[in-house]
């Protein structure tokens, strides 16, 4: 049976740690290892930071509602806000980087618009969907599959 928890915090940077701790507790309960728990914390941190920076445009402009649900084979995290729509699909991936070729201006710009955080989310989560409407606000759904040991 799915088990769900909800946390509502003001959209402030000093709430990020609380959001991470909330999700980490759920992820530990779901049975993820420490590395995966760190990945889930990082994704929620980056998503919450983008909400404050880009959806609300400043601290203290609205709440972040974060929930997680533990099902048999997956862990689902939902972040909701009532700020401006910020569709991750519109943000391009970061530039390719090597020691010989570092497109610094492009990289700095990407970091400014939250592109690096989104890059983390896309790489670390199994499914990411975003929706926005005037009534329900913005909703980012991130899913991580639970790997079952065969042994």
């Amino acid at each position: 049976m799915a088990h769900e928890q909800v946390l509502i915090v003001p959209g402030r940077y000093n709430e990020i740690k609380r959001i991470c701790e909330f999700v980490a507790a759920g992820a530990a309960e779901a049975g993820f290892d420490d590395d995966t728990i760190f990945h889930l914390e990082l994704c929620c941190d980056e998503a919450s930071t983008n909400i404050i920076e880009h959806a609300y445009g400043q601290e203290g402009a609205g709440n972040i509602v974060i929930s997680y649900a533990i099902a048999e084979d997956e862990f689902t995290i939902v972040l909701r806000d009532n700020g401006q729509a910020f569709d991750p699909a519109n943000v391009p991936p970061p530039p390719a980087i090597s020691r010989e070729s570092i497109p610094l201006d492009e990289l700095a710009n990407q970091m400014r618009i939250g592109g690096l955080g989104l890059h983390f989310i896309r790489n670390l989560m199994d499914e990411v969907t975003y929706s926005s409407d005037n009534r329900q606000g913005n909703r980012l759904v991130m899913v991580k599959k639970l790997q079952k040991d065969e042994s």
Partner: protein, 114 residues
Amino acid sequence: MAESLIDIQVEDLKRVELVRVSGRIDSSNAAEFDRVLKEVAGRKHNVVLELSGVEYMSSAGLRAIVALWRECQKRRGDVLLANPSERVTEVLTLAGLNTVFKVFDTETAAVGNF
């Protein structure tokens, strides 16, 4: 008073600034981290960041490190990393920045490289 999540110690060596960072770096304190690194870059352009005690770092922390690196590169200096924690290494790799920064096992080795 809000608890401080990060501890930053700066040692001004002869040719290098050694910055030892520990704790948690996220959006709540990345501005403080960035401010210290800007002060450091204002004094010297060769910097060693000792990051073994960093338990958590998000892209906000990376942004400050990249800004420092950019400033030092502009002035023909460099930023070397000493003994980064597993979490720091992973975030650098995720960002594709692991090939950009030279990494040393100890702060002595990093400082000695300048």
